[in-house]
Structure formats: C-alpha cells, structure tokens
Subunit: 334 residues, 2 copies
DNA sequence: ACTTTTCGAACAATCGATTGTTCAACTTAT
DNA sequence: ATAAGTTGAACAATCGATTGTTCGAAAAGT
C-alpha cells in the first residue's frame, strides 16, 4: 500500500541509498546524475511516496514530537492551553501529542511512560501529582520536560506558571478595598501548587487587613465542587458578603447554586474568580476575574523546551507570569 | 540514557532474543530458565527499561496511535470533541495525536501527510476542505479514516455528524412558532457541509411557513464574523425580530455587537444558536440553543474507526445524530 | 600506453525490537 | 555405548531510512 524507498529502488533499478539521497536533496552532493534524479523523483511521486517516520526515528533517535499532558481538557483553561500549544508548535516542524490524565496520577505516570516509549523529543506537563519526583526522574533520563501551571517544591525541571500569589492578592485586595471582610474562598485541589499559593496569597492579604480567620472550603477544580460548597456556604449564618472561587469551573458551579437559591450577584453576594473566559462578559452579572496569561505561559514553556532540546543552557528556569484583573460587575462596594 | 534490549543483554550476558522473549512474557513458552528470567526482569527494572516503540512500530507496522485533526481548538465545540476523543481513546491502549488545521486546507493536507508518515493506525478528521478527494486518497492507501462534523458529497469514507437539517429545522420552527417571521441567519463557512445543510434546513422551514426570502449573511465560524454581521444587520430597517446563529462562536460575536448597541435579548431581538455551552445558562439572557451530541459523535466515530482498524465490515457508514433543542429565555413570543 | 582523477552509484552497518530457525549440551532411552 | 529427546538459548533476517566507505568505469593527465 504505502511505498517505501525499496519500492522506488526496485522500480528505478537504482539502490536504496541513491534513492534516499536524491529524495533528501543530496543528489548533487553525491553526484547522482540529473537523469537518475529525475527518474527517482518521478517514481516517488507516482507511487505517492511518503517517508516512514518510524524508520527515520529509529535512525535519528528523534521523533519531532512534543507531548502535552494536561489534567483535564474539559477545563476550559487547559483546553485553551492545549489549543495554544498545538497552534504554537505548528509550523516548527514538530507535532503535538496531547493526552489527558483526568487528574489521576496513575494515568499520568502511565502516559509519561508511553511518551518515553514513543521517544518524544520533549514533554510539557501540567501534572496532577502531589510531588515532582516522577518528573525529576524523566529529567534524569535526559528527556527535556517542562512543567506548566502545576509545579512542586524541589522540582529540578523548569516551570512556567501564573504568579498565583499575586493573582490571589489582587483578587482579595479588590474585595477588601470594596468593603468586604467576610469572604469565603472556594478552593480546588488542595495539594496542587497553584491552589496552595493562591490560598497563601488570600490569607496573607486578609491578614494584612487585620482579618485572621478566613473561610476556606472546597477540594477540587470541578463544577460539582463549586456547586456543593456554595450550597453548604448558603447554610451559614451570616452568609459571606463575597466569594472568591479559585477556578472558572468552581465559579460555574457556584453560580449554579446561587441561581437556584435566588441569591443575586452582586446585590446579595459579590463574586470574583480565577480564570477568564469569553462568556464572562455576557453573564447576567459580568464576572470580575483574575485572568491567567495562558498564551504567554505556553509560548514561554515551548521556548524553554526547545532550548532544552537544543541543549542550550537555561538562564531562567522558573518563570512566574503576572496575571491581570479584569474588573466587571460582580463585586459590589459595601 | 535510555536502556535498550541490548543493554540488558550485555548486563545479563544473554542474547537480545532471550531478553525480548522474557520481557514479553514468553519466557516459559521458549523454555527460558526461571533463573535467567529473574535476572532479566531484575536488570530491566534496574536500568529503568522502557521498550522503544519506534523499534516495535517498525517491526509491527503499528503505532497504536489515533490522529485527530480539527479545524480549530479555539472553538469550544472542537475543544469538546478533542477532549471527548482523547478521553474515550484513553485506556484502549492507543494514544491520541491531536492537531489543529486552523481552517486551512493546506495545513490540513500537510498534517494528513505527517500522520501517514507517522504510521498512525487511524485518523479522525473534521476537515476544513471544500471536498473530500484528499480524504478518499487516504482511504485508497488503506489507512482507516473517518470524518466527523464536516463531510462531503462523494465521500467514500464513513462519517458521523449531527443531523444539521433537523437541527436547523428545530431552531427555525421554534422561532416561527413564536411569531417570528423576519429572521436573520448568520452562517459560518459557506462551503462546509454542516453550514450548507443548516441553511437548507433553515430555508426549507421558512418556505414551509410561506416565507420565501430569507436573510442569510456571514462567512465563517468566528466570533469576529458574528460581530461584524450583527453590526451590519443593525443598520437594516426593519431590523429582524430574531437572529439564528449557526455556531457558538458566531453567537458570542453577535451578543457582543448587540450589547454594545444596547439591543436587548429577547426584548428587542430574539436569539437562538447552534451549539450548547455550560455558560449559556448564566448569560444575562440564558440562550436557547440547538445542542449537538458531540459525545455520541466521538464515541461512534471511534467505534467505526476501530472497526476499520480491525478490518471488520461496516454495515452503516453514514451516521447522522439527532440534536436537541435546549429552550432557555432568549426567544420572545410575539 | 599507463596512471591518476572524477563520476556515478552500490555495499554494508546501524538504530531497537521481533521471530522463525538452528544449535550446542545435557538427559534419557535402547 | 550410542542414538534419540529435551533444555536453554543463540543466530540471523526483517522492518525503513541514513550514512561512511568502497568500488568499478570513464575521463583526464603524463
């Protein structure tokens, strides 16, 4: 079905070597006659020849493939990341192999193994794990890998993420400055670094304003979590004057619970969230948010990865990017 | 860095053959002594051996990889599709190679070539093209391929898509039944089959209600297009009583233009769109839409593809799935 | 006329894994 | 003691492409 060098070699009567050289535009370099070259090109076209990368890879050890492992494409943030990375890598001559670990560390480890097995040239990962030892192991094997969004203490590989402390600080500050001091924070996966840092930023800012006890609740980055926690929050007296959700998915669940209970935003409660989304502008109450610079994260991660692939020395290995607060109408001044 | 069979062979003093057989659990079958087996397993673990798929592939001709080519991950519909497919394929022992053609047929052709080159076992594609000849060519080469969402006349490969005629009919019917007869339709890529069929469904339903001239405008599935066309529409007198957008992206642009011009939905104009999205429930006016069964599309496409890979005969090759209308509050009865 | 260049292309090894065949060495049977 | 059988493992070819080396034959130089 698919033609190989051998097929062309047999059709033209010249050796595989010669065919290979001609098709790699080394015909002149190796003094293959114009006539032979023409014959080879013609036959290659005729047989619809496409080089078998497997062969090339085996020979070169390179696959020209970058793997991207994310904890969940259902999360618009990671969908955006995947889209950005795929698009950025396009045209570099590399392909992108995308997989989804579903926030499951075992699946993630298996995928990592698969990628090594497939000889990918580099890996970009937003890890679902609690620590980075399995990622350091990849690094030890000499496989270029960079972390995005999620990172760990003692991580020996480069990472690129939002400055989550700053982001949480900005959001909390925004609320406090508008008179809120009873703020509930609905968090995501507690072990994840972005979550931990955001919580730190939240608490730090609260403390700075002299507020010691903070309401922090929730357990993962899902719509369900946002929904459940908000429902629980609604039982409390007094109800907080503002809610700070740590992801778009949590915000979605939160809004669902609020709507079902006829709690209005921002009249009854103010709302601010991590993550931007095109729809936030058109919500019944346009949602104020902390936008992560996901495009820059992707671009820089790719840049770092390619540097590693090219065996260049990395001067900066840990990049935290400034988020941006987009003020819409979900926070009331009280 | 990475250990190969040869490394294990050298460390243990047995041949590569024996190592290969033991690691493939064929040790007993080939009467390799327990002792030797133990030694091999131990060394493999010690060296952190992971089989090099490139070698396996070359030998077997299989890569256990499925390629997915979509015209744009920025479109939430395709992000959902990508997520679904990646998730569904997970655990089948296959990996998913996702690429984005950016609605560009040249990029798409190039990607297709890449996939062939990489020996993928099968391809799922939502093509950006105007016709299916390049896809038939893949089929001719004996590479399993199935189309989703976008398909063509004379396509010789299986496809799975929404029943777009029905979807457009449902939407149009919904508007007409509520007293709208001045309806503007903002379409997407005119050459694409889903768009063509939706337009047909729209016109057919309008005609059924005795309305002959339909306003159809727009040219691609982008936010920008929805924005521009709505702006243009706003110049018209009389302004339509309802707008039917053929994708979520177009709807987003449309809403932007309406908002900027203080046109209220549904008081001043009713709005209905193709494609559902989690946020639609929380918009200032929750948006009535025609939801595509993207999960089923993905599942069936994968099913068909695996049947082709397994060389089974396909009884049904063309699947159109019933969409669902989700009634919210963006259509006013007049 | 004989040696040296140049030309045009083939040989053969290699990458990593798989697999049909072969082959010693030892055991058992005759 | 010799033939037959069993054990345990190695040999070698193969998949597709690349690449350093080699090798005839024709052309040029002496």
């Amino acid at each position: 079905m698919k033609a190989s060098l051998r097929d062309i070699s047999e059709r033209t009567g010249v050796s595989i070597t010669t065919v290979s050289r001609v098709l790699n535009d080394k015909g002149d370099e190796f003094r293959i006659s114009k006539e032979t070259q023409k014959k080879i090109f013609f036959t290659a076209k005729e047989l619809n020849y496409v080089p078998n990368q497997t062969g090339v890879n085996l020979q070169s050890g390179k696959t020209r493939t970058i793997a991207l492992i994310v904890p969940g494409l259902v999360n618009p943030f990671f969908a955006n990341v995947a889209s950005s990375i795929a698009t950025e890598i396009q045209g570099t001559g590399y392909n992108t192999l995308i997989t989804d670990s579903n926030e499951n560390i075992e699946i993630e480890k298996d995928e990592l193994k698969q990628m090594i097995s497939r000889n990918v040239d580099g890996i970009i990962i937003a890890s679902a794990g609690h620590d980075g030892s399995h990622i350091n192991k990849i690094d030890d094997m000499g496989i270029p890998i960079v972390c995005i969004d999620r990172y760990f203490d003692n991580l020996q590989v480069p990472f690129v993420a939002t400055d989550n402390f700053l982001g949480a600080e900005m959001a909390t500050d925004h609320l406090l400055k508008r008179g809120h001091n009873h703020i509930a924070c609905i968090q995501g996966a507690m072990h994840s670094m972005p979550n931990k840092i955001r919580i730190k930023g939240f608490e730090h800012t609260m403390n700075r304003y002299g507020i010691q006890d903070c309401t922090i609740t929730g357990s993962d980055f899902t719509v369900q979590n946002g929904y459940t926690e908000t429902l629980l929050l609604l039982q409390n007296k007094p109800f907080p004057t503002a809610i700070f959700t740590l992801s778009n998915t949590i915000a979605l669940g939160c809004m669902k619970a609020l709507k079902e209970n006829n709690v209005r935003v921002p009249e009854d409660v103010s709302l601010i969230t991590f993550d931007n989304h095109p729809y936030l502008d058109y919500l019944s109450t346009p949602l104020t948010c902390v936008a992560q610079p996901f495009q820059d994260i992707c671009r820089i991660a790719i840049r770092l990865l390619f540097s590693m692939i090219d065996k260049e020395d990395l001067t900066t290995k840990q990049v935290l990017l400034r988020p941006e607060i987009l003020v819409r109408n979900s926070v009331k001044r009280i």
